[in-house]
Symmetry: C2
């Protein structure tokens, strides 16, 4: 593997941002074929909307290219080193993972967004997009290839699979030793299928059933603002709050005030039996505690202690993002230690679990698995490392 100069990678990103704008008409024409096909097959409007390209969406993809261009290249960074007593010097240096397969569903912007993150980190990419978006994806991948050629990089660093019948996905997942990593992006059923079938290591970006526990000592007005933000700022995202746990001692004062705030945002509330004693809302079923609504719905449960709150989180959290609002040092420490999610918050909205908010500049998704990377998967998480060992004819 020959290391690709950062300058060349950035040159390709700049070229792509220009090619996207220059070829807008062609992209829109190819996308129109996909949209027409989808309509004829009776695909729902919401899904057709995810599939559709527009001038602003194409401009956004170009902006992403220039944004990734400006980020620091993590490849080549020596991030740890030690010298043995005999003088042997050992360094750990970041290198690309290798060849990454990306399996995704209808949104064609993933073709650009995921590819440029992988390319910036020196990885080769094999794309398998949704059959719905085939013409759009082929047109976009063609522009990526042209941008690589303009930077004198091998166009073969990006390949797209034409696979209308899903036959090749299985083949792709058997490419152990050829592909180093597969990243599924899309529905939880897609992710499960990839995890179950793949012989190639998988980076799982999963669902978020996120919690906030409002402790007895929490500041009321500020807590309402945090809960409101976590639920309503962008309800369709994986780091959105789905279940609120409230300490029994504060519930009679907190919940009515919270309801007034959330009513203004049209949030539907569902409560445990004790919540129903305080609020006139629908009851929550057992299923609610395990549901990622991705919508303006919030389930509420009253608990008697931080231990009960932690217990609920441990049972129902998808280990994405969970938060405690409290002024009590001991309860905060317990929550931080015993809740084992990718991101555990004190006095903050769960909405911060995001590559951009964490300062990574961009992200491939939020990992809810435990190996390699947890939380936002940015450029650094798309690299691995090797050891460089410098000796003077050292023997053991």
């Amino acid at each position: 593997m020959k290391q690709v100069l950062t300058r060349k990678k950035n040159q390709a990103l700049l070229a792509l941002s220009e090619l996207l704008v220059e070829n807008e008409q062609e992209l829109l024409a190819q996308n129109a074929r996909d949209v027409e096909n989808a309509r004829q097959r009776g695909v729902k409007d919401a899904l057709v909307d995810r599939l559709a390209l527009t001038s602003p969406r194409i401009r956004d993809m170009g902006a992403s290219c220039r944004h990734i261009m400006a980020l620091k290249d993590p490849v080549g960074e020596v991030f740890d080193s030690f010298v043995r007593e005999d003088g042997l010097r050992i360094e750990k240096i970041r290198v690309p993972i290798g060849a990454i397969g990306i399996i995704y569903e209808s949104r064609p912007n993933v073709t650009v967004d995921a590819t440029i993150l992988a390319l910036k980190t020196g990885n080769a990419v094999l794309l398998r997009g949704g059959s719905d978006a085939l013409y759009s994806n082929l047109a976009l991948a063609n522009l990526v290839k042209r941008s690589l050629q303009q930077a004198e990089l091998p166009a073969s660093a990006v390949e797209i699979i034409e696979d209308p019948d899903r036959e090749l996905v299985g083949e792709m997942l058997r490419q152990r030793g050829v592909l180093d990593l597969v990243i599924p992006r899309g529905s939880s059923s897609l992710i499960s299928r990839v995890v179950e079938q793949s012989q190639v290591p998988v980076l799982e970006t999963g669902v978020g059933v996120c919690h906030i526990f409002v402790d007895e000592s929490a500041q009321l007005q500020k807590s309402i603002r945090v809960v409101d933000n976590a639920k309503t700022q962008r309800p369709g995202t994986c780091n959105t709050l789905e279940t609120l746990l409230v300490h029994a001692a504060i519930a009679p004062r907190f919940l009515p005030a919270l309801k007034r705030a959330l009513d203004e945002k049209n949030v539907e509330l569902r409560g445990c039996p004790r919540t129903l004693d305080i609020l006139d809302i629908a009851p929550a079923t057992e299923q609610d505690w395990d549901t990622e609504y991705l919508d303006l719905v919030l389930s509420i449960r009253i608990v008697d202690s931080v231990d009960e709150a932690i217990d609920h989180v441990q049972r129902h959290s998808t280990s994405h993002s969970d938060s405690i609002l409290s002024e009590n040092y001991r309860n905060i420490q317990l929550f931080l230690q015993r809740v084992d999610s990718a991101a555990v918050y004190v006095n903050a909205s769960t909405r911060f679990t995001d590559g951009g908010e964490f300062g990574f500049g961009a992200e491939m998704g939020i990992s809810t698995q435990r190996l390699h990377a947890r939380g936002p998967v940015g450029l650094r998480e798309l690299t691995t490392y090797k050891y460089l060992v410098h000796g003077d004819y050292h023997v053991r």
Copy 2:
């Protein structure tokens, strides 16, 4: 997950080291049943030897316990942190991976060695040892459980599967969400089977076809010492040299001197056609370049340049450990950059790729995969991380 105090984990390790010695007779008796069964089934002597426990081997296991006890516990270490402009403070803290399945073959010492590394890092362990060693493994696991109880830790942190017919291995590999990691230890066929079948992430510790390239500018006498060490110091290990690449300009002087040194150690040499012009040895076949001998055999190939050497390594290396011996700055840089193995050496023996030699204190094996961990898998590599985020009612 409640964090286990380091003191308690060390208490269990100390207890285990004592229990092993106190229960030597019982361990030897149980092991004798396994050995007798193996002999009756006609198992080869070499394999019976791997299976057999002896007083010194039991003492070695006890010593391992005390050794791991003395190592620093990586769990709880905050190893990165950053503060956003709005004051939100984000920390990365090491946590246990969770529940680790270990699938291994006949050597019963793995029952102790692998388990104590996993326990020291706060992980739970599910063991599936070879059916050959069932009675030995049950006796050893029983002692591990007793040591946990003595430290008032849950004995259920270690469980062993009795599975004489291998039926439960498949079941184990389907425990996605229950097991967080599976580590296969043993033959390459065992490892392949686990990788192919597992829905649980796998940490692959693979084979080592390791190379040394002796460049034109290398110091001759010192290079002979390094090659000798890499080949003969312990030929059965995965970081042992298997193929030597020699620059054509130095070969006529280097190879005869090397042969004299290796003849004294009874190393069998096999050469490419150009090597046979210089040395009176057997020819190497195409298969030799991809063979991990794990024995006193060395294949030799003459190359005309560092590029040709790198090309050979890229084709045949298993990405474990590869070394260049050279005084030429440019060639060294090329080799370091373009050889993408877990450990890439300059002027040193490949034998240093080892958790002990790297200062990790111990290791679970040498990872030849690219995700999560490469090279020696020590305590730190048996952990993952989570983010702790400290706010003051921050909203996005």
